[in-house]
Symmetry: C2
Subunit: 357 residues, 2 copies
């Protein structure tokens, strides 16, 4: 391994000068710069980040800890984070906590012990993480789900989106809606349930029909099965995320129930394949890329100190995308090729500000 002292010797100068040249800090004599650069080049010198980090007591690495790498919401978030990070000279590495609290903790520990420049986290629960990072004074921005502790936070309006989705179902003439949501420990699950209930209450519907399941495909399957096996089964489903939606869809399919004709269906998250299902699925679209980008922007500002004071909270608007699965009126004849094209897109929610701080 060729080190800085080798370059110094080769260029007939001192380690200090080489360091200065490499970090293009001070005004060094142009002639020396030339000599150092050429020497470094000739020797194939590569700075050792480990030594630099230890000396500087900081890195330029961000950890983005997400709860499920197979959820397209989070992969879109990741792209938003990466774009902003790159523009600001940070590298992002992704950590998949996999909805597992101990893995999450492990990655938080990694961030702390490796002195990450910043962390963006979608917390499973537990505020211990926050304290751990705070004690190492590593800036943290939460996404998707908040914690009781006040921390910078970016999310989208789950409750408003859920309410709009449910109201849409009711407007379409579905009369016995039900809700498949995530576990009580997940904030987004509870908010989406609450939005669903908001709509029911506003419409004077007393029977709630709610099931809580893990945010996985199996949860969607068993949740749908439970609801459909009841004495008075629902005629429409509001499903709180895309993994649950896949399970629910599978269950409907296996019972020969066709969304749009036999049962109404609307779900959270505009996954890329929602247009290709039979029939296309109506969704509440979250601005996932923006969630990531805004979170990254906040992190940059915390790191460089331009954002100070108490934590900010940003809530982004969702968008209702109406396709065939939620429309009651759709006649069976109108299936197939035309179904994809007739999808209405863009009914913006009336609820909530674009972003409040």
């Amino acid at each position: 391994m060729v080190k800085i002292s080798d370059v110094a010797r080769e260029s007939g100068t001192s380690p200090a000068t080489v360091s200065r040249v490499l970090n293009k800090n001070d005004r060094v004599d142009p002639e020396l710069v030339r000599r150092v650069v050429s020497a470094a080049d000739r020797l194939g010198y590569r700075p050792n980040a480990l030594a630099r980090n230890l000396r500087r007591q900081r890195t330029s690495l961000w950890l983005l800890i997400i709860s499920d790498i197979e959820d397209s919401f989070f992969t879109s978030v990741a792209r938003g984070v990466e774009d902003v990070a790159q523009r600001n000279g940070f590298s992002v590495v992704l950590c998949n906590a996999d909805e597992d609290e101990s893995k999450e903790m492990q990655y938080v520990e990694l961030a702390a012990s490796e002195l990450a420049a910043g962390v963006i986290l979608s917390p499973h629960s537990a505020r211990t993480h926050v304290e751990r990072l705070a004690s190492s004074s590593i800036p943290l921005v939460l996404i998707d789900r908040s914690l009781s502790t006040p921390v910078d936070f970016v999310t989208s309006d789950s409750r408003g989106g859920a309410r709009a989705a449910t109201e849409h179902l009711l407007q379409q003439g579905w009369r016995r809606p039900a809700c498949i949501t995530g576990p009580r420990s997940a904030e987004t699950a509870e908010l989406r349930r609450a939005g669903y209930e908001d709509a029911l209450e506003a419409a004077g519907i007393r029977t709630k029909r709610i099931v809580h399941e893990p945010f996985h495909i199996d949860g969607g399957r068993t949740g749908a099965a439970q609801l459909l096996d009841r004495g008075k089964p629902p005629d429409a489903l509001f499903v709180a995320n895309s993994a649950l939606a896949m399970g629910a869809l599978e269950e409907l399919w296996s019972r020969g129930l066709r969304p749009g004709s036999d049962i109404g269906l609307i779900t959270f998250d505009d996954v890329p394949w929602a247009r290709f299902t039979d029939p296309p699925i109506s969704v509440v679209a979250q601005p996932a890329y923006q969630v990531g980008a805004r979170a990254a922007q906040m992190l940059v500002e915390r790191i460089n100190g331009s954002l100070q004071g108490k934590p900010r909270k940003i809530v982004l608007e969702t968008e209702l995308v109406v396709r065939a699965s939620s429309r009651r009126a759709l006649p069976p004849a109108d299936r197939g090729a035309s179904a994809g094209k007739t999808a209405i897109k863009g009914a913006h929610l009336a609820v909530a500000d674009t972003s409040r701080t």
Copy 2:
């Protein structure tokens, strides 16, 4: 920041002993262990990984550099890698190169300068990466795509899978197949095209009908459009990955062409939603999790030295999953609920060994 010397003082011993206790290496007096542990606990001591890494000249971090985080093939690979890494005491961070060579280079550089314990990479092209890592003697395992330089490598049998898929189309009675594959620079794209051609040649079909497009949804759209606009359009499509498949599906949809009845369709990669499309899509399934797990296993063995000598190559079998989109016989009446259930699964390929070394 509380450091090892603080713990030493607090427990009335030396830094060396504290270090030994923390790394549970030597046989230290149980009484001392107790005192050290309790002192560390009391002071809230956290080891500084930066210092440790610098001293040891190694880390326990793996970089997994993938070409597209939104491709479910790679997210499944990631889970395979993570499971094996965790069992062996390594942390995995994911880097999304986004099919961008300069980003990929950047992450390789990160791995080298941070002295990663190992790297798993799906290379976009360029063998410079390999040399860079080799010069820092960081073990590397390639996945999905190989390079001209010999390096440990795990993939699945693209060519065999493509051939089997195409043969299946022909057996179903489709007569004018076409192929939408990726760019010529992508090895998997070329192998799948080759497998497609193998089947055509074996069947004595002379007209190849092949288009090369970027591995993105737009590529699928324009690729399909090009083929369908020809004087003699194809009556069946073999599509080389899932992003392309989405675009192709969109194009078919917009022209009112229904897979299975109007046109045959089979694609690479068993994405979770392939069962939910209209109609369900036949696919060549890659053992993505296994690709990741096997690659990780090789990396472990390279790191601990139990695997030595020249690079190994592992080629895993693919699986043909036949659903409705490729079956010509499917009568229009058999749509809807039953279509998902009647899917045949499991026709194993006759080609290739399970894994050769």
